[in-house]
């Protein structure tokens, strides 16, 4: 009896470290190198950029500084802008190829006529089509005109882990390859993000 109990106890104790690793497995999902330990703790970074606030779809106020320690891709868009819709496909590639611990995508709608319910309908349509867009969506709170030069959208701005603006692009930006028929471009989201991670 004592032998049985001690065997069970030993087995249980041996399992505990494995369970701990499983809880963290989602944090390493989609990471390119699974053997790397996470050195991107926000404690290592200090926000040094120009902060701004926005509303998420739960109408909670969020800030750029909330994502210190991560590369942030700010995507200014509107449902009425078809190029902004195309942009979602390229941003999905970013979402699928980088860990959420390293890269955050903020898609902020800049059309005041497009309410949260419109945005949710839009996301629902994409989901039904098999393209679930799982990153952060929100509505404009602070004036973000400086991030869309000339008022054009889609407008991407990429911030480093300290919140400093490092790259920007007005018009459709591609992940790493320009599809056939589109004009040539030397801006690729993957290159910009890789430089900052």
């Amino acid at each position: 009896m004592i032998l049985f109990v001690s065997t069970v106890a030993a087995f249980t104790l041996l399992q505990i470290p494995n369970n701990t690793n499983n809880k963290n497995s989602d944090a390493y999902k989609n990471q390119n190198n699974d053997n790397k330990t996470d050195t991107n703790s926000s404690d290592n970074y200090v926000f040094q950029g120009k902060d701004f606030a926005f509303y998420d779809l739960n109408e909670e106020i969020k800030h750029l500084s909330d994502y210190t320690g991560k590369v942030v891709i700010l995507d200014l868009w509107a449902i009425s802008c078809k190029y902004c819709q195309y942009q979602m496909f390229e941003l999905k590639k970013v979402y699928e190829n980088y860990s959420a611990d390293n890269v955050k995508i903020l898609s902020i709608n800049v059309n005041p006529s497009e309410t949260d319910s419109y945005v949710e309908d839009f996301l629902d349509q994409f989901k039904k089509a098999g393209y679930e867009l799982k990153w952060i969506f929100g509505q404009q709170k602070d004036n973000l005109n400086e991030y869309m030069p000339g008022g054009g959208i889609p407008a991407l701005t990429i911030f480093d882990k300290n919140g400093i603006k490092k790259a920007e692009k007005t018009g459709l930006a591609f992940y790493n390859k320009i599809p056939e028929g589109y004009p040539s471009d030397d801006f690729f989201i993957k290159d910009e993000v890789d430089n900052l991670i």
């Binding site: 009425s80 190029y83 902004c84 800049v110 006529s113 008022g151 054009g152 007005t170 018009g171």
Partner: protein, 189 residues
């Protein structure tokens, strides 16, 4: 029940009564259908079209939109949302979005004028919004209207200004022809 039993016993009289009941029942059915159709306002159908003037507007100019409905009895308000985009650069102008109220000018006809703001826009797109039963719904998917650039519009206007020269040439030729005819008549005399 008694009536039915009596009907069975008095066949001919019964037949006539049943026919009246059937006719009455049919009338009541049709009447209730009509009432349902006309009382359920939200299901009233209508057709519509939107005219854009000019047909190919110039960028950064004024554009007139006229929405015509064959039946606007249930429409409370009409609005139109317009935005400007550039197909060459693949951008739309966030600050160009206008949400305009359309004014009723005639039965079934609503109109508004928009001032476009971006000289480098190559097209505008619009969506019609209708308010019925105190709720808004959008009709027409986004419709695209190509724009002329200001430069191409200016060059077209210059060509128009040059055409009077053809008129002058025609007058001169006509005058020369008349003079030649007169000269020949004099020679013949």
């Amino acid at each position: 029940m008694k009536k039915i039993i009596n009907c069975i016993l008095k066949a001919e009289e019964c037949f006539l009564k049943m026919k009246k009941i059937q006719t009455l029942g049919l009338f009541l059915f049709i009447a209730s259908l009509v009432l349902i159709i006309f009382s359920t306002n939200s299901y009233a159908m209508f057709s519509y079209e939107v005219d854009v003037s000019p047909e190919k507007p110039v960028a950064a100019s004024e554009v007139s939109f006229t929405a015509t409905f064959d039946n606007d009895s249930l429409i409370e308000e009409v609005r139109i949302i317009i935005s400007e985009c550039n197909e060459n650069t693949g951008i739309c102008y966030a600050d160009s979005t206008q949400n305009l109220s359309m004014t009723k000018v005639n039965d079934g006809q609503y109109n508004t004028t928009a001032s476009l703001t971006h000289s480098d826009a190559t097209y505008l797109q619009y969506t019609l919004l209708l308010k019925r039963n105190e709720s808004w719904s959008s009709y027409l998917n986004e419709t695209k209207v190509d724009l002329k650039s200001q430069e191409s519009n200016d060059s077209e206007n210059n060509e128009v200004k040059d055409t009077p020269a053809f008129g002058i040439i025609a007058i001169v030729m006509a005058a020369v022809f008349v003079l030649i005819l007169n000269y020949r008549k004099k020679e013949e005399r």
